[in-house]
């Protein structure tokens, strides 16, 4: 359960920001999770309340913004949708397409008091 340790990182990030940005409670957390990131949004939702219990984000709402996979062909330089990390270019067949979007896993923003 990789997602649980990622959620512990989320909690750490909130606690650090609470000090630097001076807040004591988080009511909403928005995560940005790319579809190619090997993180399962359902598992994050499932673990969120457990990991945030007794923290400043107890009972906070979790919003997950999922980003589609996009890639740029390293040969023909055209953009394409990516369903997995390793797909040949749909335009020219070149084997290596660089991921430009979809690998994200980050805390985007917070609503705090």
């Amino acid at each position: 359960m990789h997602e649980l340790s990622l959620l512990e990182n989320v909690r750490d990030i909130l606690e650090e920001h609470a000090v630097t940005q001076n807040f004591s409670k988080v009511t909403q957390v928005t995560l940005e999770i790319g579809k190619l990131s090997c993180v399962e949004p359902e598992a994050l939702r499932f673990g969120f309340d457990v990991v945030m219990k007794d923290s400043l984000a107890e009972n906070a709402t979790l919003l997950i913004s999922e980003l589609d996979g996009l890639g740029l062909c390293q040969q023909c330089h055209r953009e394409m949708q990516m369903k997995t990390l390793y797909e040949p270019c749909i335009h020219c067949g070149h084997a290596f397409v660089r991921i430009t979007q979809g690998a994200e896993m980050k805390v985007k923003d917070l609503v705090v008091i």
């Binding site: 359960m1 979790l62 997995t84 390793y86 923003d109």
Partner: protein
């Protein structure tokens, strides 16, 4: 409080909270996941964070890497699915190389000291990290381990990660190279089923080749799959119990250890 990184824990298991039972969780999660179930407080404000979830791990990994560089410690992160033969491979490697280089091992398992005990039986120093619920080692735990151990300068540090082909690929430990061990009993399609791990690895050790006559495993197909997700991956076929081709691996290691300045 830890004097090195300022954390309040002594090992990575202490930060883990007890897991709440599934049905208990479902009851408590009935609130606001739909979006706007909470009352809005008038002092609420929005804060942009834009911070990667792995930032913290990555910064500990960078500290570890700097330490390894300073002390000329060649560090390997060994990953595989459970039972591919990581500990067996390490024990055999130690037997063959321990008179030439100092070797230290960090063992990651969810439970037990068994693997560290197997390593200690060879006479080298080993530290066991029990990750408990976590399915991978992280750079913070490794940072503590290397300060607890007496890792010699100009030496080999082998980190055996928790048996798992998914999660450890995301967590940099500060190692020089990632080595994925795949055994021939697992199926030749593993590289495309777990592409993240094979993509992240520098070297693939195809282990248990002594069992090839008994299993349906197409070595060439497996190598094609591995190169499909990682064209630069190096591959060595060997048997850790029978010793077939094992010296190709120890030569590979010796070459890199001898190159330490």
């Amino acid at each position: 409080m830890c004097g090195i990184c300022g954390c309040s824990q002594t090992n990575q298991t202490t930060k883990l909270k007890p897991v709440v039972k599934q049905n208990q969780h479902l009851l408590t999660s009935a609130h606001g996941h739909a979006g706007h179930a909470h009352d809005h407080h008038e002092n609420e404000r929005l804060i942009q964070v834009e911070q990667n979830l792995l930032n913290k791990n990555n910064s500990y990994a960078a500290q570890n890497r700097a330490y390894f560089k300073q002390h000329q410690i060649f560090t390997l992160n060994l990953v595989s699915s459970p039972g591919a033969g990581k500990t067996t491979l390490l024990v055999e490697t130690i037997k063959r190389l321990k008179d030439r280089f100092p070797i230290t091992v960090i063992e990651g398992d969810q439970q037990t000291e068994r693997d560290a005990d197997r390593i200690r039986a060879t006479g080298v120093q080993a530290l066991q990290i029990n990750t408990g619920r976590a399915c991978h080692l992280d750079a913070h735990g490794i940072g503590h381990a290397i300060r607890e151990l007496d890792v010699k300068d100009h030496s080999l540090l082998a980190i055996e990660n928790v048996g798992n082909l998914v999660c450890p690929s995301s967590f940099d430990l500060g190692e020089a190279l990632k080595v994925v061990v795949l055994s021939v009993t697992e199926g030749d399609d593993k590289p495309i089923k777990y592409p993240d791990m094979f993509h992240a690895a520098d070297l693939m050790l195809l282990n248990k080749t002594d069992l090839l006559p008994y299993v349906d495993f197409d070595v060439e197909q497996c190598i094609r799959y591995a190169r499909q997700v990682n064209p630069d991956i190096e591959i060595i076929k060997l048997s850790s119990t029978k010793g077939d081709n094992f010296s190709t691996w120890t030569d590979w290691l010796t070459e890199r250890l001898s190159a330490l300045p």
